[in-house]
Subunit: 251 residues, 2 copies
């Protein structure tokens, strides 16, 4: 096995619930002899992929990773523009907002904009959520052909339900989740794509569900949709659809 693959396996250990790692942990988790694990971590330290935490024997990702994450965000015009839209909406309504990507069955927030209201949802960047069970996830899944979703979730007991919810998302142009991932929290999401790079991102706002009336909710959806619509128009995202808003008060 190439040292590069081993190195990336080490990096993959980091994530939810693991922000540092030791030689022994690497040895057991990857099934490597501890000699190899020791050398591997040393090599990764030497080249900046890892760094030792203080004087301890624990390792965390190197500082370089922060630069790489920034480069990732900058490499995509779509992410940057979506971020501006969510940031503006987050400021106007005071609620926390995210930009998320899908990766298989999961979605991750890649940029967050914490709200300003006294009562607001605390941002939790990097947290992985099941794509079928949150509003951002469903807007992203709704961008796939039905057959693809069926293949992804083959054997899943609630596949039928999921497909009908995705159909609804396609029809309405947005998704809502109510207390799905966190008690008391509701979220709205809209997806937009860059056909040139096949990227799809989801813009969302999350808020305490007792705080927002249906009218205000539609106001928020409208604001996200306006920004997303401009992005879609300029990049040529044909699948984007302006949302149907029943409760919106005409301006």
């Amino acid at each position: 096995m190439s040292i590069l693959h081993n190195a990336s396996d080490v990096l993959r250990c980091f994530g939810t619930g693991c922000s540092d790692i030791t030689v022994t942990e690497v040895s057991t988790r990857l099934g490597l002899p501890k000699a190899s694990a020791s050398r591997l971590l040393k090599a990764m330290r030497d080249c900046g992929m890892l760094e030792e935490i203080g004087g301890t024997r624990r390792h965390r990702p190197g500082r370089m990773m922060l630069d790489l994450a920034a480069a990732f965000r900058h490499s995509s015009g779509l992410i940057g523009r979506a971020g501006e839209v969510v940031a503006a909406a987050s400021r106007r309504f005071g609620h926390t907002g995210y930009i998320s990507l899908r990766d298989g069955f999961e979605v991750t927030a890649i940029a967050d904009f914490e709200g300003t209201n006294q009562l607001r949802v605390v941002s939790n960047i990097g947290r992985r959520l099941p794509a079928h069970a949150c509003s951002t996830g469903r807007t992203l899944l709704a961008r796939l052909p039905e057959a693809e979703v069926a293949r992804l979730y083959a054997g899943h007991p609630e596949l039928e339900l999921l497909l009908s919810r995705l159909a609804q998302v396609r029809a309405e142009g947005f998704a809502v989740s109510t207390q799905e991932t966190t008690l008391g929290v509701e979220g709205i999401a809209i997806a937009v794509a860059d056909p040139a790079t096949d990227e799809v991102v989801s813009l969302c706002l999350v808020y305490p569900h007792t705080l927002v009336t249906p009218e205000e909710r539609d106001e928020m959806i409208a604001m996200l949709a306006e920004g997303a619509g401009e992005i879609a128009a300029s990049l040529g995202d044909a699948a984007f659809m302006q949302p149907l808003l029943k409760n919106r008060i005409p301006q």
Copy 2:
């Protein structure tokens, strides 16, 4: 040369002004035969360190890097706590705030909190600034022994000036920069350390310099200092000093 070192050299290409890269670029920048560059990028793609952008032949850091950056931030209690302090200050005053680390001669923002005021400094995470020429940088350099600074900046024409400014930072407990990096922008910064891990971070707020009176400035410093002081006390940072504020209006 180990493939791991080559891989990390590729990753190091990303940064200011470079968010994607091709086989030829790698070949020329690292001085590798293009055969090697091609195989290297392929291997890095295969293990998730890079990804191809759309159908093009350009590469950017892989999604994994976002998770790694999040793990880095979580691995340090210091960073998290400093972030809370700056976030609260940013919300209260409406100005943009950062958490920064020093790496040799440079400082980088690793977390940002965009302000809410109409006129605010746009956050620019990942941007590398010369440590001697910004307020965050000087608070971090002020944490080093004078001899170490002298060694770092040996031969630098303005070493004497720098040392006297650092002495001032040590005496006052905070640093100010006025239109140093960006015209019209002023910033205040305070450093705090975790003696258990030898980490030092700088908390800062940046704002349009015409908008803030000396009294308000001291109010902001006081708020950052209060939070930083609590962190210093709980972690046992002996070098932390409450700032001397001349213009503060007694509460």
